[in-house]
């Protein structure tokens, strides 16, 4: 099992290198720094000097891959590839366009992102699984049918609607919580409760339906018939036998997103004015701050790969067939 995990870890290295090269190609080869400077400065005010200045301020004035002017190892290190892409491996993301250190910004914004994402994730998982179990328990009845119809309807509503509608109803009409903002400590609660509820509500349709399908697939298996032939009540069959087995496919979809919770939710954070990584990303996109977008792409991939690894490890906990072979 240890060999298995080590092997998965080793496999992550070429993938990270691939992601790094891909972002490099996307940000520096598809468009040259000159193009970006021209766009950032606006078409009218473009002069070669202005472009040079823009590039020099941001360190984009180096050669892409090979600095023939530099001596020794600096020929490799004093390039855009090395200073902008390779250095991300050691957590050096450079500075954003507004001059702030990206790495510091990211660490300070992680807290608010997690404060939203973790409760949403945990609560959403719990509610959706309970709801799905309920539907499966009453499968092939009117309740099940109505539940599925409700799920499809909830799935068909845009996530933007949940946020806008929720803000309007809860904050504007009922004046229950502030419409947006963020505070530290206990104060955070009143800012967090609405985005969390909306987040749970927005995801419930799709995930309930997915869990229901998994449960139904499990429930038609032979071992369930064996369990019933023992005389077990349906409740025990569902919780002890079906749930345990359904956990395996559920883990595939669920564990992988846990690390990416750090990334925050783009929409929620931006609508509710929460100073997390999601709103940071959106602001960067709107300001066309390529350095920040590039960093977030890289961090996102690292977290995703961590998620894949966590999924593999979680299998060894949930599935004895993986653990013992």
């Amino acid at each position: 099992m240890l060999a298995y995990i080590v092997r998965r870890l080793l496999y992550a290295i070429p993938i990270l290198i691939g992601v790094n090269l891909l972002t490099f190609a996307l940000f520096f080869v598809v468009n040259t720094p000159d193009d970006m400077a021209r766009m950032q400065l606006g078409v009218k005010r473009v002069t070669p000097e202005a472009i040079q200045k823009w590039k020099a301020e941001r360190g984009y004035d180096k050669p892409l891959l090979w600095n023939s002017a530099a001596a020794g190892s600096a020929a490799v290190t004093d390039t855009i590839l090395f200073s902008k892409s390779v250095r991300m491996f050691v957590g050096d993301f450079g500075r954003a366009d507004d001059g702030r250190d990206i790495a510091r910004e990211i660490t300070s914004r992680m807290g608010p992102s997690l404060a939203i994402a973790v409760p949403t994730f945990v609560l959403g998982l719990f509610v959706a699984i309970s709801f799905a179990l309920l539907l499966v328990f009453f499968r092939a009845t009117a309740l099940d049918f109505a539940g599925v119809v409700l799920c499809v309807a909830l799935m068909s509503i845009s996530g933007l609607f949940y946020i806008i509608g929720g803000q309007w109803l809860v904050s504007k009409v009922w004046h229950l919580v502030p419409i947006s903002g963020y505070g530290g400590g206990l104060d955070a609660g009143k800012f967090l409760i609405l985005p969390v509820i909306i987040g749970v509500f927005g995801g419930i349709g799709g995930s309930t339906r997915w869990y229901r399908t998994i449960f139904l697939e499990e429930i038609s298996r032979d071992y369930v018939r064996t369990a019933r032939a023992k005389g077990l009540p349906e409740r025990v069959v569902l919780f002890r036998h079906v749930l345990r087995n359904a956990l395996i496919p559920i883990l595939t979809g669920v564990v992988v997103v846990i690390p990416t919770l750090f990334m925050g939710s783009l929409l929620t954070e931006s609508f509710f004015g929460i100073p997390g990584l999601g709103s940071y990303t959106i602001d960067a996109i709107n300001a066309q701050d390529f350095a920040v977008v590039r960093s977030m792409v890289f961090i996102g991939s690292v977290l995703y790969i961590v998620g894949l690894l966590a999924t593999d490890i979680s299998y060894t906990v949930a599935d004895p067939r993986v653990r013992l072979q």
């Binding site: 071992y223 032939a229 005389g231 077990l232 087995n245 599935d319 004895p320």
Partner: protein, 661 residues
Amino acid sequence: MSLLAVRDLAIHIPQGDSGRGVGVARPVDGISFDIAAGECYALLGESGCGKSMTALGLMRLLPPGARAASGTVSFAGRELLALPESSMREYRGGQIGMIFQEPATSLNPVLTVGRQIIEALELHSALRGEAARERAMELLAQVGIPDPGRRLDEFPFQLSGGLRQRVMIAIALAGAPKLLIADEPTTALDVTIQAQVLDLLDELRRTQGMALLLITHDLGVVARMADRIGVMYAGQLVEEAPRAAFFARAAHPYSVRLFAALPDAQRRGGALATIPGSVPPADTQHGGCRFVERCGEAREDCRRAPPPWRELGAGQRLRCVLERAPEVSTKVGAGNTATTPVAPPLLDVQDLRVHFPIRRGVLQRQVGAVRAVDGIALSLAPGRTLALVGESGCGKTTAGKALLQLIRPTAGSVLLDGAELTTRSTAELRPLRAKMQMVFQDPFASLNPRLRVGEIIAEGMRALGVGAGDTAPRVAALLQQVGLRPEMAARYPHEFSGGQRQRIAIARALAVKPQLLVCDEPTSALDVSVQAQILNLLSDLQRELGLAYLFITHNIAVVDYLAHQVAVMYLGRIVECGSADEVLRSPRHPYTQALLAAVPRIDGAGREVVKLEGDMPSAANPPAGCHFHPRCPIAGEECKRDYPGETRIGATQVVRCFKAA
């Protein structure tokens, strides 16, 4: 008083989605029978007759949609169908235990064996904690699982198929049931394991005084186990009789034909009796006797009304208007057709090896190999049949595919008509592919569902350029040759039954005019009456076309009927080979002897029994010395050291055993 009394039980499944009109499928349509305490009652019939549905109906475990529409099931005086669900649960597992066909899927894969047994104990007894664990250990020991303490904490995937079925039995026994329902309990198991499990069931029945409802399609199993037999056909019982009477003089035309369709040595060279057509689907509306379409003796009045029950005496009764049981003529063949081969061999295999690497560790280095086929030699003359016999996992299918180069062998030589195959590239092999073809086991997986039958049959001709030009006349001729109608070429595979599909698969192989046909268990997925049709077809084709067959099977009766030569495989090697007569009549290897003795026989006569303990070891880690020695009753010291060499006995028989000399 009987323990279980079933009266007029009918199970209906509404067919909602059939266009207009709502039809109803009746997989079980009014059956009645009794089982006395301690009795073994066998429900016998082909697939689709409603046997399993009956069992599930008794337990009230019917699949969604199906329901018991009428009838009563009284168990020890209580009416089960009227019980509320909560009381029914006490009967399930507590009074009536049940085991299923597929031990591989019937156990929960993520719970330990112990957990699954204790769960049943806690439900039906007062045992808890350590006491329950003790009892679970006793149960495992009782069903013959060695080292039960360790097994309790293992998961089902760590057990072999035979052990899993024993665990299933242990679970069923946990509630000390008065009746055990066994639904095809040994169909998924090898014959030697089947013999072990049947022995266990029989012993439990005797020691626990437990009644047994055995559901099976296998006449041999019935002969070995049953006190009384009910023959089911299309949702109804058609004959009921005590074992002795049934095997002495089966009366219903269906029962008679089931017997006549069984292959065995006496019928070799002749044709087996077949039952034309197949079991009617469950939503058929019946006017008269349900068997009338397939019955050779049907009269005018058979179509008008369902025949009533008729007593024959001695507990035998049947639903048939015929006064006398029909004589089904099975042309008895010449018996032994073994003539000495004259032609040079068509196929000559020397030292064929197929090893699959086992990779482990961080770098996935090869740490060993599964020796699926480990040095076998075969030789087959034109127009002859060589049967490669062995239990699942012995490497026989891999061997068949390796000699067709579908799996590239690791080492060895395969000469087909003098041409070496193993050294040729894929392109160089192509011209030789027309000489050798394969018929596969599963008729449902061997035909592409998206192609018409005509396209399927023509595929090989087109790929190999056989019979260039218009393929249609040739396809039509082939369809006729395998007993289908030419216009069927325009249809899709899903419109055909299993037997018809297997005919199509044979036509596809014949299309390129092969000399050698590798048949990989071609009848094991088919019912016995359909099996007879296919076996007849194969022997007709051999006579007409002079085909050579390499027949891969685990079914000894088929081998006995069909094969000229036999090679017995165990763990990647051939342990005994020779003419069918020599190997099957006077087996010299202890494994061959055990294999033959394990086959349940319909005449009830047992040979002197050589019981095998345990399971076949893994081909990744075969035992040192003779691979068979850990299970061999006569193994000596030398057997643990060296693999025995070949010993020639008689004209053709070769054995690899130290003790056979």
